[in-house]
């Protein structure tokens, strides 16, 4: 699905990612954990194509294509989805119009005709149920006046509508109460299949009680310093990040 090799990226001349290697296959869920400032969000931004970041070294291959060569919109059209840590409010653009435009641009990219209005409405209704999103929110402007939890649900709602091959969830659990967490996790679990994959970026272990990862990676100081299975997350939860910090500062020092 995606193959990240020796990825280095910097912002304003400051190197944040210092050689990331990660291989994600279809059907897998990978969790990336790490302390604040380790480069988790930079990784998701670079993969989604945010232009503030400069890739200085390395490669990313997505479904056999060079991801870094693609514009953000083409990455999305090819099946990459980023659930934003801080979803943007866009006053005046209705959720419905936004999603219709997105779906139809993705369809056009695949050489398909625009979706029929009634099919689109049925799709909206179906996916609303999946993430327990109030229908009223769908008719409002994108994220405008949404609570933190509603914004995160809306991200998962969009993911459900767009059916990406690879979804990156960037701290989707931050700021969520336990009910919203369950809804978000349920959404992901219902959407997962042998044909798609997820990268779940999180600070805490609790999301991983609901979305069980196949692999857990620890990101520290711009590098993946440790990889393992779901037990690694539990270990981390018990011991905290201090040990990791201590261990790797020593080896680097």
């Amino acid at each position: 699905m995606i193959s990240i090799k020796n990825l280095h990226a910097s912002i304003n001349g400051k190197e944040i990612l210092k050689g990331i290697n990660l291989e994600v296959k279809a059907g897998e869920i990978h969790a990336i954990m790490g302390p604040n400032g380790s480069g988790k969000s930079t990784l998701s931004s670079v993969l989604a194509g945010r232009e503030d970041y400069e890739v200085t070294e390395g490669s990313v291959t997505f479904e056999g294509k060079d991801l870094l060569e693609m514009s953000p919109e083409d990455r999305a059209r090819e099946g990459l989805f980023l659930a934003f840590q801080y979803p943007i409010e866009i006053p005046g653009v209705s959720n419905v119009n936004f999603l219709k435009t997105a779906i139809n641009e993705i369809r056009a990219h695949k050489g398909q005709d625009p979706m029929e209005a009634k099919d689109f409405l049925a799709l909206l209704k179906d996916k609303q149920k999946l993430v327990e999103l109030d229908a009223k929110l769908t008719n409002r402007s994108v994220n405008e006046g949404f609570s933190g939890g509603e914004k995160k649900r809306n991200e998962i709602f969009q993911m459900a509508i767009l059916e990406p091959k690879l979804a990156i969830l960037d701290e989707t659990d931050s700021g969520l109460d336990i009910d919203a967490l369950r809804v978000v996790a349920n959404g992901v679990n219902k959407l997962r299949s042998k044909n798609n994959a997820f990268i779940v970026i999180t600070h805490y272990q609790r999301l991983l009680d609901h979305i069980v990862p196949d692999f857990v990676h620890i990101l520290y100081n711009g590098k993946i310093v440790k990889s393992g299975t779901k037990e690694l997350a539990l270990e981390l939860e018990a011991k905290g990040y201090d040990e990791i910090k201590h261990q790797f500062e020593k080896t680097e020092g």
Binding site: P72, E73, F81, P87, G92, S141, V142
Partner: protein, 424 residues
């Protein structure tokens, strides 16, 4: 000095005086005053504070070296695109009311006349538009076309909108002075659209409208400017709002090489409400300059303004909003907001709120913002597969819709959305 100032004005007067409508509906004092003002003060240059960004003298010197005053006749087919199915359509061609192109009025409570109907001392025309206030008011008072007067009788709520089409068609560079006088009598209600179009060659349109909204009356007014690249215009609205009355205007500028709007609202009756909304999307080397005045003369009134501009290419947008709260106008609520987006590196926006407050118990506020298109929003849309062009269109439509949504005539709104979509 005086002579130099008036060269442009002299030329205009010489070019058009032989060919102009005989203005019998303006009283002699006003007429003499108009000519005198033009001859002494001339056409404003950018040294004139109110025309700082809109040098009209230069426009005439550069674009109207010759004013030939030759016009085409127009047919129903020329006018049709500007008619609205749900409205009573009235047409003013090259400044003169064209009854033969207008719909026949079958609605009770509306009286329509051409301005020539009024004569002499008792004519209401120019009662609120004084020559000594502005060169273009003077120009209209001196050389007005035989425009249109519309009266809505007392206690009448007019069930459909009235659409006045001001359409020009010059054979070559010419100057027209279209004019309207709209009088909404007590307890009456009406929606009036004023649409501006040009189907001929280069034109300078000096439009003037007097609007009087009497006690407890309501006038909803839409100004739609789509005159094209060969048009230069000054549009003055001189509005007087009475007790418990409501005046709403939304002005949308789609095109025009130079468009100057002077929207002056005299708040003359207590407990009245006035709203001015504006939207301009400028391209190439266009200049769109909106000047507004909310003149609070009496207590307990509310005024609210929202002007939005999106500036592209090498164009210039101007918003100058003056709020004047006189000594007696206690308990005034006056708000003003100017929001702008710069879409290019070479575009310019000049925005200036001007509050002069002489009463001590008032609520007045103004806000102005100018920025680029929101990069975070743009990225968010792209991250969902929406390409640059459509993402920008969505964001610009969202920006514009706050003003477009004020338009309550569905066919007009649909027309605007189509036209605006081409400009985004």
């Amino acid at each position: 000095m005086i002579a130099e100032r008036s060269i442009t004005a002299q030329k205009i007067i010489e070019s058009i005086s032989g060919k102009a409508n005989k203005v019998g509906f303006i009283n002699d004092t006003e007429l003499t005053g108009a000519l005198q003002y033009l001859e002494t003060k001339g056409i404003p240059t950018n040294k004139h504070e109110d025309y700082k960004y809109c040098n009209m003298d230069a426009v005439f010197k550069k674009e109207f070296k010759e004013i030939v005053q030759e016009f085409n006749e127009l047919s129903n087919a020329d006018v049709k695109p500007y008619k609205l199915d749900e409205a009573i359509n009235l047409v003013v061609v090259n400044g003169n009311y064209a009854e033969h192109l207008s719909d026949k009025i079958i609605v009770k409570g509306i009286t329509i006349k051409d301005l020539n109907h009024f004569t002499g001392k008792n004519s209401p025309i120019a009662s609120t538009a004084k020559s000594n206030t502005d060169a273009f008011v003077a120009l209209s008072n001196a050389f007005s076309g035989n425009g249109i007067a519309l009266k809505v009788d007392k206690d009448n709520v007019i069930p459909m909108p009235i659409n006045i089409i001001y359409i020009n068609s010059a054979k070559n560079s010419s100057l027209v002075n279209p004019r309207s006088f709209i009088h909404v009598m007590p307890n009456a209600e009406v929606t009036i659209t004023e649409r501006f179009a040009n189907v001929g060659k280069k034109i300078f349109s000096n439009f003037l409208s007097e609007k009087v909204v009497e006690e407890n009356a309501k006038l909803t007014s839409y100004t739609i400017q789509e005159e094209g690249a060969e048009s230069f215009s000054v549009n003055t609205n001189q509005v007087k709002v009475g007790k418990y009355a409501t005046y709403d205007n939304t002005t949308i500028t789609l095109s025009g090489q130079v468009v100057r709007n002077n929207h002056n609202v005299v708040i003359a009756g207590e407990n009245s409400v006035s709203h001015l909304n504006g939207l301009f999307l400028t391209h190439d080397t266009q200049l769109v300059d909106n000047h507004t005045l909310m003149d609070h003369q009496v207590p307990n009134c509310e005024s609210n303004e929202l002007y939005k501009g999106a500036i592209n290419g090498k164009s210039t947008g101007v918003f100058n909003g003056k709020i004047y709260v006189r000594k007696d106008a206690q308990k005034t609520n006056a708000y003003q907001s100017s929001k702008n987006i710069l879409l290019s590196d070479d575009g310019t926006i000049n925005t200036k709120p001007q509050l002069e407050i002489y009463a001590n118990d008032v609520k007045c506020s103004h806000g102005t913002s100018t920025g680029k298109i929101d990069e975070n929003a743009l990225f968010y849309l792209k991250a969902r597969g929406i390409g640059e062009e459509n993402a920008r269109k969505l964001l610009l439509a969202a920006f514009a819709n706050e003003v477009v949504d004020k338009i309550e005539i569905e066919s007009l709104k649909a027309h605007l959305e189509t036209q605006l979509n081409k400009l985004y």
